[in-house]
């Protein structure tokens, strides 16, 4: 607990000097900066290694602005001041009230300690460390900051989609949506949360961008999307009853949504619940993927497919696919594929009058020699004698 929390009317001037001293000391060990505590209006209270002299009004405004920015983005963000200094700050908070902030600053020259063409001071790290220190001292509202960081990241992704959309002239939101939907469903099936989130953001942005302020249109899209997500989740192994409940809950929540701003958090909550429901049955998901991989292999046996083609067909990275395959099937991909080809060839040998060469080809063997060798290894005899033998048995 920090000393501020015991006060009924919290005020930053009551901040324990010893806490500030501890933060300052630790921070200055790592970074060539000055550090101070400011009130919400930017007025300096305590400082260490700070520049001499009084701050002008604009300077105070700037420090105050910095604290606001630190709150807004959930992470200190560097701003440049005409006096050739760089500042970054973390708000000091009690619940949602901002009592002031801790600001760090450095001279522009200090930015490149070993010359302009060398990498500059890692201010990203400096920003993050300052926040963590202040969070450890329990002087800020970590939950609020974290939420703002997530929002910032989401907005950044949204901005990128917008930039892309502006470059690409695509007409019709439906078309766009249909392009993204299969990708979303496959990342959901694979339980890939972060990729799913990204795609959801893309879809949201597109829909909002194109639907403009026709909110009902947006809602109808959302209903469709949630229904598809639920169906996919059940296919991927989630408990149908649980998903039905989820679906109902989501739709009820959607009904009370009145603005675009509420949509994104809502849709993300839907996604998280769905992913949780799938994650509760992890084996179902992956065995389903492997089943569809094997179906794909069967359908393409006559073609020269390889591991990478199949991995791509089920939307997995080749290495991840290999691991999953081995885990579920019990033997490696190549081994299994040859086995399937040989089984197929054996069937053709019995059921058709095709020549050995034709059968090798129809089973996906590019070379007859390799076909003969593989067949012999797995079946214990050559294709020709296998055909003979089976015919004799039938007779």
């Amino acid at each position: 607990m920090n000393s501020l929390e015991q006060l009924s009317q919290p005020n930053i001037s009551e901040l324990d000097r010893s806490i500030f001293r501890r933060i300052a000391q630790n921070y200055l060990l790592n970074w060539p900066v000055g550090i101070c505590v400011v009130q919400p209006d930017g007025q300096r209270l305590m400082a260490k290694n700070w520049w001499a002299g009084r701050d002008s009004v604009t300077h105070r405004d700037l420090l105050a602005f910095n604290v606001q920015e630190g709150l807004r983005f959930g992470e200190p963000t560097v701003t440049y001041c005409p006096d050739k200094r760089l500042y970054w700050a973390v708000p000091i908070m009690q619940n949602s009230k901002v009592l002031g902030g801790i600001v760090a600053g450095t001279e522009e020259e200090a930015l490149f300690p070993s010359g302009m063409d060398q990498p500059p001071l890692d201010l990203r790290k400096a920003c993050c460390e300052l926040r963590l220190m202040i969070e450890r001292e329990n002087l800020t509202n970590s939950a609020v900051l974290e939420k703002h960081r997530i929002d910032t990241e989401r907005e950044r992704e949204r901005a990128e989609v917008l930039h892309l959309l502006k470059l690409e002239d695509l007409s019709g939101v439906r078309q766009l949506y249909l392009r993204e939907e299969p990708r979303l469903l496959s990342t959901i099936r694979q339980g890939d949360r972060s990729e799913s989130r990204l795609i959801i953001n893309r879809i949201l942005t597109m829909i909002l961008h194109h639907a403009g302020d026709r909110f009902e249109l947006v809602k109808s899209f959302m209903m469709e999307l949630v229904a598809t997500i639920c169906r996919t989740a059940v296919e991927a192994g989630a408990d149908p009853e649980e998903m039905l409940g989820n679906n109902f809950q989501s739709m009820t929540a959607l009904a009370s949504i009145r603005s675009m701003e509420q949509l994104a958090p809502w849709l993300h909550a839907v996604l998280e619940r769905t992913m949780d429901a799938i994650a509760a049955h992890p084996d179902n998901t992956s065995s389903m993927i492997i089943t569809s991989a094997i179906t794909f292999m069967q359908q393409h046996l006559h073609e020269p497919i390889g591991r990478d083609d199949v991995a791509m067909a089920v939307d997995l990275s080749p290495s991840h696919f290999s691991r999953l395959f081995k885990h579920h099937v019990g033997q490696g991909f190549n081994q299994t594929l040859v086995r399937m080809r040989v089984d197929h060839a054996a069937e053709l040998l019995i059921k058709t009058r095709m020549s050995i060469g034709q059968i090798a080809h129809a089973s996906g063997f590019k070379e007859q020699g390799y076909f003969a060798k593989s067949f012999h290894r797995l079946m214990g005899q050559s294709p020709r004698s296998y055909r003979q033998h089976q015919a004799n048995c039938m007779a």
Binding site: L86, L123, H163
Partner: protein, 210 residues
């Protein structure tokens, strides 16, 4: 023939002295201001990509931006035709909560070069300040810039503030990387331009010049 790649590089690395002297050289070598500008924007775009990939952080963007702004200042006189009587006054600024000013500065420069008297309010400009400036300078055109998706609502608020004042036929033109025509329609702005060059055409169109 000088290579504008060096200028792009100088902007990217935020090397101000080099960027400004290369800009001067390019001008002296009779390269068009537009081609010089384009080389700078490429540098800015590249730093933007690096930021996206977490390869650089804000300070690098800041110094690149400063190199760009200083080099642009050198270009300005050759873009801004002197001796013209301005046809109208325009107010321009980056909306509240947003500190990005390069795009806005470019538009401002182009406008000055097309016989407009431009009042630049800078960055992080509140709706009130826009309204006050329009009144004070009897502006017929306002340019709003936003580079963050999160400041697009400020843009909307600014448009609303201007419209609610019923200022005699002032036109609002908006722009910035996340801004689109459909957003302009949505918030009731009079126009949108994707870049500085078309911002001139749009301005003239809105003002009924030519």
């Amino acid at each position: 023939m000088m290579d504008l790649k060096d200028l792009t590089e100088a902007i990217k690395t935020g090397n101000r002295t080099q960027a400004t002297s290369l800009t001067q050289e390019a001008l002296d070598a009779d390269l068009t201001p537009q081609s010089i500008l384009d080389a700078m924007v490429v540098g800015m775009d590249e730093i933007g990509d690096k930021f996206k990939r977490n390869e650089v952080f804000v300070p690098e963007m800041l110094i690149a931006a400063r190199a760009m702004n200083e080099s642009m200042a050198i270009l300005e006189p050759s873009l801004v035709k002197s001796g013209y009587k301005p046809l109208a006054t325009a107010v321009i600024g980056t909306v509240q909560g947003d500190l990005h000013d390069i795009g806005k500065n470019l538009v401002s420069m182009m406008w000055k070069g097309s016989a407009l008297n431009v009042i630049d309010l800078g960055t992080n400009v509140t709706p009130d300040k826009f309204v006050a400036a329009i009144k004070e300078h009897d502006a017929k055109l306002v340019g709003l810039s936003a580079l963050l998706t999160t400041t697009m609502p400020s843009m909307k608020a600014t448009v609303e503030a201007i419209k609610s004042e019923e200022l005699s036929d002032v036109k609002i033109l908006i722009g910035g990387a996340p801004v689109t025509q459909s957003f302009a329609d949505q918030i009731g702005a009079d126009g949108y331009s994707p870049d500085a060059a078309s911002a001139v055409d749009s301005a003239h169109q809105l003002l009924g010049i030519r």
